[in-house]
Amino acid sequence: MSLRIRATRWLLGSAAWIVAILLLVLPLVSLFGEALRHGLGAALATLDDPDALSAIELSLLVVAICVPVNTVCGIFAAYLLTKYEFSGRGVILVLIELPLSVSPVVAGLVWVLLFGGRGWFGPMLTHNHVQITFALPGILLATLFVTFPFVVRTVMPVLDARGREGEEAATMLGAGFWDIFLRVTLPGIGWALLSGVLLCAARALGEFGAVSVVSGHIPGVTETVPLRIETLYNDYQGVAAFTLAALLALASGLAVGLRGMLEWQHRATGAPRGNAA
């Protein structure tokens, strides 16, 4: 009996490792293998491409704008949803969750329906010479939509677990909103906030579907890093595509890995967890 159990355990362990290696590890190894197919020098040389550099610049700009907007608004929304009770709270909760279950392509499509050439506001925008789709504003809106829920969803459970006593005590002592917000509420959510910000940044950096619909793929102008990877791949420039892809995977992996470490640390100390994945 004991031998059979040990054999079963060994079989299960091996099966799990084989599944994980075939399904998950092999693609990762292949990604770096393809990038380094002709050596590190050849791989790095492909980065000396003005279109690739401008794509990196654009992606960083998108992150630099979208992450703060969704972070600040996300904190206020989390504050609202955990400190007050009001009718319509459930509706706001559902609307916040919604972008998570929407296809990235739909997340891009909605902005074309609004601001594209034949969109609701399209003629008005053309008349005033404002370009939203096939330009930076469209890319920003699409990215804001797909990264919308991350910060609220990580911060809310922590704020909820902390209760309202701190804020209520501060109010009784006569503190105004900004004192309470900056000195009582914010200091308590530091790690959860950072965790949400990291997720938000990783997604903003790597978003492909939504941005691809609104960007127009103009090399050097409206191509973010994922779109540049697609262009290179379709041009049969394998090493260049995979080098940029490996770079993007490293940046995104760093953010997600850092978040994992934060979660691990706070799980170990018994702090409440955010579930944002």
Partner: protein
């Protein structure tokens, strides 16, 4: 522990000391049902409500209104015709069908992984646990070109398979592989915490009472993790229906055969058929919502069903 966090903008001068502000209007919202906290006196209700409503309306409500309204602009008959075109039906069937199959595969593989990590603790289980999150960390376009190359005719896996006469990339099997890749972590991440929290005493008690390992697995562990497993399946399914970046490179994208619904949206947009694109988008959104509602219903029913079958 306080980590550096970006400070929010300050519209007004920040008070440096705690001064009583008797004149400040304070909104006391009515107590909501259920929670029993009672009315709150904390200031900042109007400000945070204003910011939240502006943010949600501009970024979610307005776009969704366009998505809900535009399919109807040529009338209901046109909408029906646009959605029942052979190409649209094939794309929707492909997206929902492969996502369902892939989510089922993910559930089996994910259960094996979660179970093994939690109960068997094989050599290197911590590393195994960390590896599961890989697809979450890999941007979809990166996963897409990598899988297409790996399973392509000259790829490490694709070449031996091609030698055996099996073609994976540029077929529906390729779509399935991409969807299993992106869906797997959802199942493991929703199942593993429940398995970890399940007390070992439960299994020991069953064992003392004479249950065989197979019985323990089927009648003690499985019912306990079934709700989590259903959640994981649903998340993987919903994600798979809308997946784009990791699929299009490996799919082959032949109309009627391997053209997924999100790609058809892109194609219709390129033809300036906004209403037709919105129609498919709306069906996909409603489908995803339906999946999530159905699964929460199943989850609500599960404890009763499990309890009826086995009085533990």
């Amino acid at each position: 522990m306080t980590l550096a966090s970006p400070a929010p903008p300050r519209p007004g001068p920040l008070a440096t000391s705690f001064e009583p502000v008797p004149g400040r209007p304070r909104h006391v919202p009515p107590a909501g049902p259920g929670k029993g906290h009672g009315p709150t006196v904390i200031p900042g209700y109007r400000l945070s409500l204003g910011i939240t409503i502006a943010w949600v309306s501009l970024l979610v409500l307005l776009p969704l209104a366009a998505l809900a309204a535009r399919p109807w602009e040529h009338g209901a008959g046109w909408l029906w015709h646009s959605l029942t075109q052979e190409r649209a039906l094939a794309a929707l069937r492909l997206s929902f069908g492969t996502a369902f199959l892939a989510a089922s595969l993910c559930t089996v593989a994910g259960l094996l992984l979660a179970w093994t990590i939690a109960r068997v603790r094989p050599a290197g289980w911590r590393l195994l646990d960390a590896i599961i999150d890989l697809p979450f960390a890999l941007p979809t376009a990166v996963a897409g070109i990598t899988l297409a190359t790996l399973y392509g005719r000259h790829g490490w896996v694709g070449a031996p398979l091609a030698g055996a006469g099996i073609k994976v990339a540029y077929t529906q099997a390729g779509i399935m592989i991409a969807l299993v890749f992106v869906g797997l972590p959802f199942v493991v991440r929703s199942t593993l915490p429940v398995l970890n929290d399940l007390p070992h005493e439960l299994e020991e008690a069953a064992q003392t009472l004479g249950a065989r390992p197979g019985q323990i697995a089927l009648r003690v562990l499985l019912p306990a993790i079934l709700p989590a497993l259903v959640t994981g399946f649903g998340l993987a399914f919903a994600r798979g229906v809308g997946e784009y970046g990791s699929v299009i490179f490996i799919a082959g994208n032949r109309p009627l055969v391997s053209e997924i619904a999100p790609l058809l949206i892109v194609i219709r947009l390129q033809q300036f058929d906004y209403a037709g694109a919105a129609a498919i988008g709306l069906v996909m959104l409603l489908g995803a919502a339906l999946i999530l509602v159905a699964l929460s219903l199943v989850r609500a029913l599960l404890p009763a069903m499990a309890g009826a079958r086995q009085p533990l």
